[in-house]
């Protein structure tokens, strides 16, 4: 089920009312939320609604259930283990099985196609990648690893199931950790105190970014440039790249804004996932602002266990590059994602090397520097990020090279796709990143002081404009494929 649809418009009020009515009875609330989340998930697949019928409608929700039960068994095993070796064995088996599930569904075809001599014995089969698998597997891993590290104790199966399938974060994040979600199940939120104005702001902004901005940028230029680079001028290629950079931001941050807002209306808080990423003045700064829940996950469960910066300079660079490469591969089983991760990994390593050479040990050296220096840092960072997006977006490597090639050789021909409206949308989207959060909070507070009737009226007008400015139909979210 997609958020900006009539289906969800019918689904959510039912869940909202049911949720707050059942809040006084925690066990029933969890069962209700699990049922609602599985129905939400099943909407993503085709097939009969009858559980015993063939088709994918319940096949992948069943996989989610299996992952839930198995990981709960592993965590209980870790907790009950009498010595460190047994604990380690349980943890290793758990991590291996989770990664095995991910590898099978996500990388089977990639492995077979690219590592022929090694994996050619595998039978050919068309493996369907279930929506959300990368997200719920990463969340299950956080539960298992935190349990192994002693940060969480095994919770009841029903609590873990609620955490893993909770529909606002289920299909495209943010990646909420067990340590962030499970404690919220132990406190009963007060139905008299809902941070609704914040939730409404996130939902409206998210809808606008996804339904209007992302769709406009993809239709007006990005799709055309990336599917047929040679048919477009250098200027169109440049604007196509900028457009895609802002499209993916609008698409993904729009989705997670809606997810965070919806969770807030149900009394659950999620971590922030984006913090104006295109204001970043360095790559390190960018990764503190872009898909923050994945960045933190990779840092805590991959970079630090690899040794982080504790094992010498050379190992630090290797760990950085490796983390970003794996981060790239997490997005998809294709070389272009590996290159995308490689560009970021290399960029981070070079940045670190330059800082160390200049004796700068501060985490964010540029952010507090002189304005011209920050401006140069911003321009360079933005363009490295855009350069990497070319590989992320192009459906194959040759098309990525063609897009970049047009930047060199495509000047002089007409550029009908570069219009004043496109330029204005791109400029406004970039400018909006620099609007102080304090201003948005002030608007939000002023909204919350309005009578209920006017709040409803204001929201209706916002949704009216979103609907009117949107193209027909709903574009799938880019991050659903990951």
């Amino acid at each position: 089920m997609l958020f900006p649809t009539i289906q969800f418009g019918i689904f959510f009020p039912i869940v909202f009312i049911g949720s707050w009515l059942l809040r006084p009875q925690p066990q029933r609330w969890k069962l209700f939320m699990i049922a609602a989340s599985y129905v939400f998930y099943a909407f993503a697949f085709k097939g009969s609604w009858l559980p015993w019928a063939t088709g994918n409608r319940w096949k992948y929700p069943a996989l989610l259930l299996l992952v839930t039960v198995i990981n709960q068994v592993f965590v209980v095993g870790i907790f009950k283990a009498r010595n460190h070796v047994t604990r380690k064995i349980w943890a290793t088996v758990a991590v291996t099985s989770d990664l095995g599930v991910l590898a099978y569904f996500k990388y089977y075809n990639f492995g077979r196609d690219n590592f022929g001599p090694l994996l050619s014995w595998l039978p050919k089969r068309q493996v369907i990648l279930p929506v959300a698998i990368s997200f719920f597997i990463f969340q299950a891993l956080s539960y298992v690893i935190d349990a192994y590290r002693g940060k969480v104790k095994p919770t009841q199966l029903i609590d873990f199931a609620t955490y893993l399938c909770f529909f606002p974060h289920l299909v495209a994040g943010p990646i909420v950790r067990a340590t962030e979600f499970l404690p919220q199940l132990r406190v009963r939120p007060d139905p008299r105190f809902i941070d609704a104005s914040h939730a409404f702001r996130l939902i409206v902004a998210g809808m606008f970014k996804k339904v209007v901005i992302s769709a406009y940028l993809s239709h007006s230029i990005a799709d055309q440039v990336f599917t047929n680079p040679k048919g477009h001028s250098g200027l169109e290629a440049l604007f196509g790249i900028y457009a895609y950079a802002l499209q993916i931001y609008a698409d993904f941050s729009g989705y997670t804004d809606i997810a965070i807002g919806i969770a807030l209306l149900l009394g659950v808080r999620f971590p922030r996932n984006f913090d104006s990423p295109y204001t970043a003045t360095s790559l390190q700064d960018f990764w503190r602002r872009w898909h923050m829940s994945l960045s933190r996950w990779l840092r805590d469960y991959l970079y630090i266990p690899l040794g982080g910066s504790r094992k010498g300079t050379a190992r630090t660079y290797i760990n950085l590059a490796l983390t970003m490469l794996i981060g790239g591969l997490w997005h998809g089983a294709a070389w272009r994602f590996v290159i995308w991760g490689g560009i970021h990994g290399l960029g981070l390593a070079v940045e670190r090397f330059m800082n160390e050479a200049r004796g700068i040990t501060d985490d964010a050296p540029i952010e507090r520097g002189f304005v011209p220096k920050r401006l140069v840092g911003w321009i360079v960072t933005f363009h490295i990020v855009c350069f990497a997006w070319v590989f992320f977006r192009a459906e194959k490597l040759s098309l990525a090279y063609d897009v970049l090639g047009r930047l060199v050789s495509g000047w002089g021909s007409p550029s009908p796709l570069v219009t004043p409206l496109l330029g204005a949308v791109l400029a406004i989207m970039i400018f909006s990143q620099f609007v102080p959060e304090g201003f948005m909070k002030m608007v939000q507070f002023r909204f919350s002081t309005m009578p209920v009737v006017f709040q409803g009226l204001t929201l209706a007008i916002c949704f009216f404009f979103i609907d009117r400015l949107a193209p027909i139909g709903v574009q799938p979210f880019i991050y659903f494929q990951f």
């Binding site: 909202f16 507070f445 009216f464």
Partner: protein
Amino acid sequence: MSETHGDADRRRPISAGSVAKIGVILYVLAALLNSSNLEQMAIRLPLSSPSRGPAISLTKALHKVSNTLRLTEPGVRVDAYRGITPPTTAGEGGAFGPAPTSVAPDSPPVTEPGAPVESVDTAVAAEPASTTPPETAARPATVADPARLYIGGDSLVQGWGSVLQRLAVATRVVDSRSVDYKAATGLSRPDSYDWPSRLVQQMNALRPQIVIVGFGGNDAQGLLIGGRPFQPGSPEWSAEYASRVGATMDYLLRDGRKVIWVGTPMPNDPTDFVRQNIINQIYRDETAKRAGVTFVDTWTLFESPDHTYAAYLIDDDGQAKLMRQTDGFHLSVPGAERLGRYVFAELQKELDARGSKN
């Protein structure tokens, strides 16, 4: 980010009951303000959907109330500002406008390729079209005077159309700026997306000399004939779909255009297999009736050696490659490449026949 406003950190939580009240106001007002769009969404539901009838009744009633309260006006004004005309009631099969008489086939495009085109009134009565193209000698395409190519159709076209466009542009004797695809569309449901009107717009705006289209992927669904729905496989359905395909071909043939009609590849689903077979047969039959149309049969292009559906096939480089997407119908990148090259071979034949030089 610095906090510069006194109200910034102040929160004013409200109760679940108040949220529900806001929700009710939001839903009622938003539904009334967007009643015309909701009605269109209901109309676009599949004919076989049990919720279509009730949804249409409900949204029509809503639209009536909205009209009475004059709440449809803001929507009309916003649409007018954006240059969008109110939705017209396309005929059951859509309608092609009369043949343009004052514009020579080889005159330049009215607008730049890729630029927005003017809307065309779809309610214009269809003019009976000749089944043979006018005797217009096809000019050779040259670098100085390239042949204008239009590529359009449903979501399947997005992949192979892009490959075809890339290859066509590389010849330097073909001018093609975009692939005009629209997902989840076809010739079955002009009430959902009016391809006849779209084609009229595009032909008038771009003045292509060669047209390559692909439909059918979404057409295996009920058709409204005389207000009654008929399902694929029935004689009424086949006759109606064939007449729509024929009318589309006739329109595209006007002004001496060359038409290349691309069929659908073999699907994995058994029901779709039967239905797509019917659709492809209609394409073959209608093509055979008309000079100037070439049918590109893609049915067997993606079949296994034992003539069944194949997800993997040996590509030109000798490697086994995944050709289809997980839905068992759409093409993967190698699949789109394969079909795009196949269609390009047909285009190349046409260019050669014109004596084109690059």
